[in-house]
């Protein structure tokens, strides 16, 4: 699993994690930055995108997307241009 720089800083400087989780939800919940990816109801924050082998999990089964083992998971902040 690959994290962007701000999340890596929040994870103590670590941007790469291995996982043997069965679903994306399990994989994200095991990260030390899970609270920044998932809201207090356990849902993926609206501007957090998670890709499994290049495909947005929202185009698959969302947090219930199954993992078989060799996938590359990438977390990215959504493009959100503007005044911020």
């Amino acid at each position: 699993m690959l994290l962007p720089s701000l999340l890596a800083a929040e994870a103590g400087g670590r941007g790469r994690f291995e996982t043997d989780a069965g679903t994306i939800a399990e994989a994200l919940r095991a990260l030390p930055v899970a609270d920044l990816l998932l809201d207090e109801r356990g849902e993926l924050r609206p501007l957090v995108n998670v890709y499994v082998d290049g495909i947005d999990v929202r185009e698959r089964e969302g947090l219930e997307t199954r993992l078989d083992g060799p996938e590359k998971i990438r977390v990215l902040a959504a493009i959100a241009g503007g005044w911020l």
């Binding site: 701000l6 929040e10 920044l36 207090e40 924050r45 957090v48 911020l84």
Partner: protein, 343 residues
């Protein structure tokens, strides 16, 4: 101990010490407010990110490393979700208070590792009459004085607790809500922008409101509106006090709700020395061709100086001679300034 100024910006935290600017710390986070806890020297920041949400960061090594509070949550049955963290305040004991959006208050008793929501505000019987202001329904002011706890929320009004946060009494009598023309003096719903308790005069509160500047001398039971006496406008966001003189206050009026820039095309700080009966413009050292804005947490004070952080990225300080000077510039848009003591 050395005096420092903690400057929260849209792009991290900066620390001003002895004429130097350190930072940014917490790169990428919007720092709505930050404090240094005199008890142990820890730094706390109410930090927000437009992608990753709202949290509190704590550093026990002067900002070199930071720990994030465990997930901040609101009771599921409340139907509320935390939108932002706004203000951190030390309690008289070991506790730490945190104000947030939507009109919520948290308490930590373990040095900021965990925060518990205060049910008395989450479940307040008037909550269905609260509404968010332009900045959200933010609990931005937390004051502890004379054994009482005060919280102010936009646009819900001001509240007082005399039992440590268990129950809350609205204290908005005499405070206008001109945006409710059919009921301009409701029990709740006032848009308080900043509330401060004077540290030395029991019962004296000040507030800068959407609809005027106010003073109370009875713990908020009643309020007196203080304008039409030198202030060019009653609209503004921050307010600062003088800890040695309860009759002194400073505000930065803006044109009005529909045009939120400093009045008369200049940066003007208005001071009262008589409890708000009269206000005079302070202009020495402040730009006189300026259309600026200052956020509700953008003023701070200690026993000798007043500080002003602008959305333009400049920080001004008022010396004991009444003159202002720019002490930092070219920072990201400033959201908050707070005085700390650097161990």
């Amino acid at each position: 101990m050395s005096r420092e100024l903690l400057v929260g910006t849209r792009k991290g935290l900066f620390v001003l010490r002895d004429g130097t600017v350190e930072g940014p710390l917490l790169t990428g986070w919007q720092i709505y407010h930050a404090i240094r806890d005199r008890r142990d020297g820890a730094l706390y920041a109410a930090s927000n990110h437009f992608v990753y949400g709202a949290t509190v960061h704590r550093s026990s090594d002067d900002g070199q490393t930071w720990e994030r509070a465990e997930e901040l949550g609101l009771p599921e049955e409340s139907g509320l979700k935390l939108n932002a963290t706004w203000h951190v305040e030390r309690g008289p004991g070991s506790e730490l208070w945190l104000g947030g959006d939507p009109g919520v208050l948290f308490r930590s008793d373990d040095g900021g590792t965990t925060f518990e929501p205060i049910a008395g505000l989450v479940e307040h019987p008037t909550r269905d009459r609260w509404q968010p202001g332009a900045g959200g329904m933010c609990c931005h002011s937390i004051q502890i004085a004379d054994g009482k706890l005060y919280a102010a929320i936009s646009a819900a009004g001001s509240f007082r607790s005399e039992d440590g946060g268990e129950s809350w009494t609205p204290i908005n009598q005499g405070v206008a809500a001109d945006f409710f023309p059919d009921n301009p003096f409701p029990e709740v719903g006032q848009c308080v922008h900043k509330l401060l308790a004077h540290p030395a005069r029991e019962g004296r509160l000040w507030q800068q409101n959407h609809c005027g500047v106010y003073r109370s001398d009875d713990h908020g039971d009643t309020w007196e509106r203080l304008e039409g006496n030198g202030l060019p406008s009653g609209f503004g966001f921050p307010i600062a006090l003088d800890p040695a003189d309860p009759d002194v206050a400073y505000v930065v009026p803006e044109e009005g709700a529909e045009n939120r820039v400093t009045c008369d095309g200049r940066l003007g700080v208005y001071r009262t020395g008589d409890g708000g009966a009269n206000w005079t413009l302070e202009e020495t050292g402040l730009p006189d061709r300026a259309w600026l804005a200052v956020m509700r947490e953008g003023m701070a004070f200690d026993d000798t100086r007043v500080y002003l952080g602008m959305q333009s990225g400049s920080v001004f300080a008022r010396g004991e001679d009444g003159a202002w000077s720019e002490v930092a510039r070219d920072l990201p848009p400033i959201l908050s300034v707070e005085v700390g003591d650097w161990p």
